[in-house]
Amino acid sequence: MSVLAVLEQSGGQWHRTSWETLAASQQLAAALGQPVEAAVIGTGIHVLAAEASARKLAKVWAIEHDLLDVYTADGYTAALEQLLRKAQPSLVLFPHTYQVRDFAPKLATRFSQVLVSDVIAARSDGGALTLVRQYFQGKLNGDVKVTGDGPVFASLQAGAWRADALENGPTAATVETFVPELSAAQIRQKPEPPFREAARAVDLTQAGIIVSVGRGIKEQANIAVVEDLARALGAELAASRPICDAGWLPMERQVGSSGQTVAPKMYVAVGISGAIQHLVGMKGAKTIVAINKDPNAPIFEVADYGIVGDLFEVVPALAEAARKAKG
């Protein structure tokens, strides 16, 4: 029995949330009284496996195969299934990345299990594990218990555990290479190289102040109201995903997991409820201001200052007050 952290890498580069997952694994393994193991998947990954082995853990599995050079759902699922049958962990943790979302539910199904996805906290009450995840886009939390045979599978929300809590080991852990049995024929997805649509003309990461607009704005013509506040504050204008999807603002102004990740000195969220996909892109801001009609909107979870009210009254008043304050 062990806690297995499945770390994510691509082209020899770690996904930044891999270390958060390993830190969480160390903490939960300590609570459960079990050793920690980690798995790295790919081709020629011994350097990465060695790097992981410096952390405080019992073993690093280097899952090596030529067919794992590029990610595919079929390849990763087959390789990890074989490793799990051999390593027999009680708990398997992943970072909640786009890639994990693509294959981990399939892997869990092979064990008649369910992936508890996007977990924000976990606790062990005498060995009984409770996983906490969000429902209704962050408006409610739920405590989840998993039963059944086979390992518990969970993916962890970015930022829910801190990578700087990661402990190093006194000596390097063992690295064991695991070569799964894979054939090209069983991998049905044929991926092409990743690409970007176009160079970004707007670099929101350089902005000192960002005023960002969400669904609460209701229609495109109303964006002018928020634009005026941005002008008054000397801010860049940004938006949550639905606004860019609707074509009301260009995609390059989108903040969130599929857009830009920003950390300005001030972020003003106007009519943005604060779904996690948006929060991960802006919660690093030094000061966060939220204007929303719903006092229970998750955006207030991260806001330093807030006004609960009708944005069509509040935003023009703010713009006027800001102009006065700046003289």
């Binding site: 786009y98 409610l140 039963t147 000061t287 006004i307 006027e320 304050a325």
Partner: protein, 256 residues
């Protein structure tokens, strides 16, 4: 080509939500419902593929009686017929359980392509499509922006993180989970609404699909999250609140 689109009915966005008496799910009395938004994009993608290649779009929905309204709306937008897995208390199922019901119903259709939204607005597990694919032995891909049918399969544009994308090809039949905003949603026409009334809705019960699967993962308790951060809220009329906020931003946070 036969396209099956799995859709879910969820509470209207911005609904006031409270835990039910058992504390394990929300009290849905008095709420209004709509189609899960990513599923609306899955339906749109299905309708567009049918327009290009011909065939049929079949909507698949598991839910209580009230889900019939969401099914009719999908038929009004242009789906040809529907399957309604009618049952109450489906929220007691976990993702594997609901995917088993949907997959069992999908087995009866032998579709070339199964589409669904990338996640639901209520549970948000983002797994139903992937688990269905595994249960049906089909290849899949998730967070799809665009799909193009080619000889011997399908080529999709998958969204990656941080503004990256990737094309992937796979054989059919396959399951795709569709990203919100991947295309513009159509409205139902008056003619569509009229026609929807006569379109076939095949009703199935969980019993006809092998029974309600027992849950492996279950919600012990659902609750409003406790705030970790102290937020200073300014009240009163807009003008007063705005003036107080700007003063704080200038003299306390020192950001303007």
């Amino acid at each position: 080509m036969k396209i099956l689109v799995a859709i879910k009915q969820v509470p209207l966005r911005d609904s006031p939500l409270h835990a039910n008496a058992a504390g394990k799910w929300i009290d849905d009395g008095g709420l209004s419902f709509e189609v899960n938004e990513p599923d609306a994009y899955a339906l749109e993608a299905g309708l567009q593929l049918k327009e290009q290649h011909g065939g049929e779009v079949v909507v698949l929905c598991a839910g209580p009686e009230r889900a019939g309204q969401t099914i009719r709306e999908a038929l009004a937008k242009g789906a040809d017929r529907a399957i309604h897995i009618a049952a109450d208390n489906l929220e007691a199922l976990d993702t594997l359980g609901s995917a088993k019901l949907l997959a069992a119903a999908a087995e009866t259709e032998k579709a070339d392509l199964i589409l669904t939204g990338l996640q639901s607005d209520d549970v948000g597990a983002g797994q139903t499509g992937v688990v269905m694919a595994e249960l049906l032995g089909m290849p899949h891909s998730t967070i799809i922006m665009h799909a193009e049918v080619k000889a011997g399969g399908i080529r999709v544009k998958r969204e990656l993180e941080n503004g990256w994308f990737q094309h992937i090809e796979m054989p059919l039949p396959a399951v795709l989970t569709i990203q919100s905003g991947s295309s513009k949603l159509r409205y139902a026409t008056l003619m569509g609404i009229k026609k929807a009334k006569t379109k076939e809705v095949r009703r199935l019960t969980p019993a006809e699909l092998g029974g309600l699967p027992a849950a492996v993962a279950s919600i012990e308790k659902i609750y409003t999250p406790r705030k970790n951060k102290q937020t200073q809220i300014f009240e009163g009329d807009a003008k007063t609140a705005a003036a107080q906020l700007i003063e704080k931003l200038k003299f306390e946070a020192r950001v303007i």
